[in-house]
Assembly symmetry: C2
Amino acid sequence: MSALGRRTAPPAISWLMKTALSRPKLISLAAGFTDNATLPTKISRQLLNEILLSPKTGRPALQYGISAGENTLRELTATHLQKLDGGHDRAHSPERVLITGGSQQLLYMTLEALCDEGDIVLVEDPTYFVFLSILQSRNIKARGVKLEPDGVDLTHLEKILTQLQKSGELRRVKALYLVTYFQNPTGATTSLTKKHAVLKLLKKFERAAGHPLYFIEDAAYRELRFDHGEDVPTALTLPGARERVIYAGTYSKPFATGVRVGFGILPEPVYTTVLRIKGNHDFGTANLLQHLLARALATKLYDRHVAIIRKNYARKARLMQLALAKHFPANVEIWEAGGGLYFWARLPKEISTGMKSKVFQAALKADVLYVPGEICYADDSTRAKPDCEMRISFGSANEENIREGIKRLGVVLKKFV
Amino acid sequence: MSALGRRTAPPAISWLMKTALSRPKLISLAAGFTDNATLPTKISRQLLNEILLSPKTGRPALQYGISAGENTLRELTATHLQKLDGGHDRAHSPERVLITGGSQQLLYMTLEALCDEGDIVLVEDPTYFVFLSILQSRNIKARGVKLEPDGVDLTHLEKILTQLQKSGELRRVKALYLVTYFQNPTGATTSLTKKHAVLKLLKKFERAAGHPLYFIEDAAYRELRFDHGEDVPTALTLPGARERVIYAGTYSKPFATGVRVGFGILPEPVYTTVLRIKGNHDFGTANLLQHLLARALATKLYDRHVAIIRKNYARKARLMQLALAKHFPANVEIWEAGGGLYFWARLPKEISTGMKSKVFQAALKADVLYVPGEICYADDSTRAKPDCEMRISFGSANEENIREGIKRLGVVLKKFV
């Protein structure tokens, strides 16, 4: 095996999934799966029927396309983002849109394009664990930046950058990665003010770094807003963003996770490099999926579907919130989520929630599964890895399982907390 | 940009495609696109309708799956290969099947799993140019092994391995990559005898190498046989293959290139490593596509479709063959193709066919495009890169364009040859 091959660890989540499958009575609040009952079977059937009915629209959907993605979908994506950003169009031209196999593939290829072994990427503390797994496999170091409910702690970010400058490591820093909407795992959303400040801070350190410091904005959960707050514009709308922001978006989570289509909006020269890498990976994302999404967007059936799932997640989140209030010990801190798929619970510091902990084992025995917080933290030697937290998902569980799952978890926690 | 990013070259084929698009009257015999008229719009529509009609079958198709791929498709794939291999089942268990985004993605991830920078992979001379592009981007060296109409030149292969052993480079050799059926670009098919000999040769040098020497068998064109010869069994059926053969197959070319589903059959520990890498790339190939193919296989509509396209390619290939005989100069050597999408033409050695050559420019002026042979040769410093050949595809061109395209190309060649 190559060094990369040896470093690529078994994904934590696969163990969780296997565990879930082996215990049929187990309620999983672990997986980031989306809601099953609201998957758009009817809409997809209708749209695919329309596409495949005539050779004129059917054949292009079943043929190879270009690596950047289908032009109509790229245009509709630019327009869609413009609309989400309140008509702002500073950085939403279709030429900068790259269609990918989910936003995950975009993240992978972006790291291939930007980072060599030994480079450093700054991440939120905690962050999306599969991103950490990519970093590890590619021998890229992660540094965790403290996370507050409205985004990273700016003072901490500046402190880290300053330290790295002093230690001579700033030249190894290539990017800051933030999950800016209903973050995985905490549910936190980064405010526009913070995005702006982050962009300015990165800019400030660029001269010392000797190269661009990119801001990777992962907006995977953006459209899963269910509170009544307003959508926060992307970092793409900020001055100077056109050259520095890499936006990772997806249609998988809002539309259907079985239709894996994501997209990136990337500055040059990252766009060109990632496009070439995409050519080597797979030439381009399956056209059939791209045509399905393009038609869903064009007919507004996409918007209608998103409205439905938002209501549904709002109901399930509210249900979970009530259950948490009822069953969890009072000294467990719960982060508010205005969207996404997760609640984040912080236990008193002395209680471990890790896979080998008493809490996790007791939960498993009670047939309920959560994601231990520790796997969401980077291997960052500058701090101890917190292990007193848990990610709890209302994404795929139905209402009964949410109620019963939280109740079981509450019983477990009350024994330890 | 990273070193990988800087090394990843613009794909030659993208330039060819752009050129094709900019000249509306141009007849492209370059692209490896499949036949447009026989794309399975009707079958796909019917099957997707069935899948999405009931929530029971529709929802799983629109939800996340597991990284290895949908179990039914993995089972059907193992059975399908068993059938192709005449009932042989030595190495076709579903547990070893990994579903990927086309076989291209499998090749990419396999190289990630096996090779470090500076490693060596042996390839056919000439070979599939996108594979060469991956090698280059990952800083893996390629060594070309002479190709004969029934597979690699075994004497040359042994000579190269011996040389590499003497020079101390054998420890950097990780694999031999062969496109074993209707090879891209030459149309050559590797005989079972040669596969066996290749496997034994690799085995022989393993002790000196100090690690396994894998045989990557790319069978992308396998099902596009149109002569009346019998299918050659895979290397997987040979003794010892279970531990050393990495089989890359695909449903994209025989079914629909817009439904990008490929698969690998891999030995441990490569299987586990590639599976983990797949988790980092995209968690798994889009379920909707996997369910579509599983149903196509289960209902035998897949087989019926393959029978149709085989007849169609047979007709188009015959047409091209007749046109070649009629219009090409007699001293141009044409390789026989019993399947696949390509003819391979070898001009007298002194005539260059490269992108900057007079022949290529004249062809472009005559509005006909081919793939210059030179891009199918590895950067191998041990020999001069041949540049007197051309790959001519009958895949996507219709009958009229095949006739007219070869006629135009013949006129051009007669000026130079």
